[in-house]
Symmetry: C2
Subunit: 485 residues, 2 copies
């Protein structure tokens, strides 16, 4: 259903009123709202899980886990907001009374959030972007993901109940049900919208980014657009962990039918007998592995199309396929292989195929492996399947990796994104549109705040975060010293 | 002189090497470099002041003060970097050993800095943008401001001496002397450049911003583009401070021949007898005030042109002019006046005239004053010449002001920007291209860092900021607690 501009304008005006209300709240009041939202989501029963299962084909167990994660996100982000970590209160008083400067972070304004297809709870209507925007003091307009509208509506209802119980204006949270791309464009283009958060494809994210930058007033558009999350397997590690690594890699590649932005879609190693044995082990692991139904038939179509293009690219050969009993609407997993020289000639081979698709790249020597690293675009993650000895022997590879990603793993697999302060879920373009921010972990709040200074204001007019006596008992940098005093 | 692309490419390659070196430094090593640069600038003698005086026409006393400020900036920013404030180290360890996540902020990459005309020391070659980029761990390429190339070269030589004494690669700091706009474009467009800082006109800043966003890889472009810094004078204050305010306002308007981005170019008040008396007092203050020579004949030409356009706009009349003995190359200060209704019909009247130009806006009632506030674009500062009683009586005006600026003053004047943690020098577009950052104060460093997570890495490969035992003794958020342990 399309909305006309009056309807869009009405929603944004509601959101503006919600923002004006949130501007007057302090961090403790916002945390209370977030805890209330967490509680309402927690209380959603089987109907949520069943609805999401029908709309996304994700397994019940995974959805139960994602629901718990979503509730946890609201609580962890609220905990962080409550401490004043993102208020970054600073007070500088001139000893001679010339100035009294007080700065804190406030919300940017109404934020438009685009839900993701692959996380119907944790990165959709009630997901991390919504939680971090509200934590920042911004009202939110969610454009629900068209692939799971009913699930989104259940989540929106839960948030609305919390909003109502807390006596907060409804404009704090706004939910737009639409499968129209134009509606998204209208929202991003609206004068009173001040930021955008998006998780999804490069094409979708880049289009919104360009729209946001070309408005009369450009606005921050944080788009997380995925990546191929390359894994570099090095010689000492390979010699001793071949079988275990093969299991782990295929497990990660097929997790959630490969529908994660941290899916390890590229594996790079040195040609030779051990790497050949690894390939056989991977082929064998893949053959017996279970496959599954993708989120949506459009995603399956897109997977099959991109997979087909890859398979037919010059220099690519199929190493193995998942051969389990595969209904026609399941995705068939594929591992393909190529030489580093092919990748160096054709960077398109390093583009993401969203789904259970892996590309194995053989390098003739360390120098070629370094060149493959250099060829990489920005990634959300990079993984070294390596020992300490390997890293000592490949200093250039290790150094370059730090220019290429947001999170660098030593052993393990990139899937499984912990919601922690120390998590960086982002990375250089085109993984995201701004490497300076994360979309997972409480630090995601930072995307939506801006600093604001009061100079020489009487105490009574200051926000509580900056008042004398520190009524909220948050950490503040006062005359260059951290204190709660 | 124009540079060909090979020359640009050479400079950027040098900067890339400098960045790779800085990536391996810790915050204490970078602070040492910054202290060394401060010392070299401090040692620059009369030749610096005299050269700058000849190139900019700024008075010797002002230049002495600006030099001290510049040295202070390097030291204050270094102090802040050294404490780890901008490293934002976070460590999360799973009690069950499932993950060990460690995040810190590292430099974005080579940063291109465009010097400002009006601060030949503090916002030019060795200014705050350069200091904050180096503090962030980024190498710098300064495109020196063409209006003061010799001054810039003296500053660049000082930085080079510090770089050499510290045994740091020369690519850490790079200086491009050119008056070509194309050279700036080539630098901003270069693949290996990762951020841009600019201080200057809206036209220049917006052009660089658009260039940065339309690159194959978009990059952050922080442009501080000035504003009119409106002052709202309210009734209770006006009744008791008329004469003093008139002196203060004209003093601020003419300071530095009006060549500050915080120059209070618009004054808004309620029509009536007190406001009429204020206008007379302003006219009389202006008449007797000294004027001065502008930074450059181009700036004077531009001032005269924009002033002429304003004076001839519909509904504008001249209230008074500076009538001192004014050489032909001095700027003549002007105060013009208009009705709020004119401003509401023609927003162009609220555009900046860089120089000693003030527009006085009379409102018929409080509602009209609110509408003028609403009409404003984003500003670096807004000032209330008000008493607490005034603020209580104008809650809507006070609330709206917080959406419109980066720094809000109670009494006083916006000129005089303190280099403090609590300073916000920025504001909503078009004051800057990203309201989430400041270009004055140590927090300016934040523009040039990005978070980076290490997952499960052996201690020996971690940067010192994240190592066990906290060898740099910085504040870190470990398992959700701030600690130096």
């Amino acid at each position: 259903m399309d909305r006309n501009e009056n309807e869009i304008d009405y929603v944004v005006k509601q959101a503006e009123a919600g923002f004006q209300f949130l501007q007057q709240t302090d961090v403790i009041e916002r945390a209370e709202l977030m805890y209330a939202i967490a509680a309402e989501i927690e209380e959603l029963g089987e109907i949520l899980i069943e609805t999401a299962h029908l709309e996304t084909a994700l397994p019940l167990g995974r959805l139960q886990g994602e629901k718990a994660r979503t509730v946890n996100q609201w609580r962890r982000y609220a905990d962080a907001v409550r401490t004043g970590l993102y208020s970054e209160a600073r007070i500088d008083r001139d000893p001679n009374g010339q100035f009294d400067l007080r700065k804190y972070n406030k919300g940017l304004g109404p934020v438009v959030v685009f839900g993701a297809s692959n996380f119907p709870f944790a990165f959709s209507t009630a997901g991390g972007d919504t939680a971090s925007a509200i934590g920042a003091g911004c009202s939110v307009i969610v454009k629900a993901h068209p692939a799971h509208l009913k699930t989104s509506q259940l989540m929106a209802d839960a948030i609305d109940r919390a909003v109502s119980k807390q006596g907060v204006p409804t404009g704090v949270f706004n939910h737009v049900l639409s499968d129209s791309f134009a509606v998204g464009q209208q929202l991003v283009s609206h004068k009173q919208v001040k930021a955008v958060a998006f998780t999804g494809s490069f094409r979708g994210g880049k289009a919104l980014f360009d729209l946001g930058q070309s408005r009369p007033e450009p606005i921050p558009v944080f788009a997380e657009m995925g990546s191929v999350n390359p894994v570099f397997i090095l010689q000492d590690y390979l010699a001793n962990h071949l079988e275990a690594f093969a299991k782990q890699y295929i497990g990660s590649l097929l997790l959630g039918v490969g529908q994660f932005c941290t899916n390890p879609g590229v594996l790079v190693g040195l040609a030779g007998e051990p790497f050949d044995r690894l390939k056989l082990a991977l082929k064998s692991e893949l053959k017996s592995a279970a496959t599954g139904k993708m989120l949506h038939s459009c995603i399956l179509d897109s997977y099959n199309r991109l997979k087909g293009e890859m398979v037919q690219s010059e220099g690519i050969s199929v190493l193995g396929e998942g051969e389990g009993n595969t209904p026609h609407d399941f995705a068939r997993a594929v591992l393909v292989e190529t030489e580093a020289s092919q990748v160096l000639n054709n960077p398109n081979l390093l583009e993401e195929v969203f789904g259970p698709f892996g590309l194995i790249v053989s390098c003739n020597d360390q120098n070629e492996m370094n060149l493959v690293m250099q060829q990489l675009d920005g990634q959300i993650t990079l993984t070294f399947a390596a020992t300490a000895q390997d890293i000592h022997e490949c200093p250039a590879l290790f150094a370059m990796a730090q220019d290429k990603c947001g999170r660098l793993l030593f052993q393990g697999m990139p899937t499984g994104v912990e919601v922690q302060y120390a998590m960086q879920h982002g990375g250089p373009y085109p993984a995201t549109t701004d490497a300076r921010f994360t979309s997972v972990g409480p630090d995601a709040v930072k995307r939506f705040v801006r600093p604001f200074s009061f100079q020489n204001w009487p105490n009574e007019f200051l926000p509580k975060e900056l008042q004398d006596g520190n009524p909220l008992q948050i950490d503040r940098l006062v005359n260059q010293q951290w204190t709660k005093a």
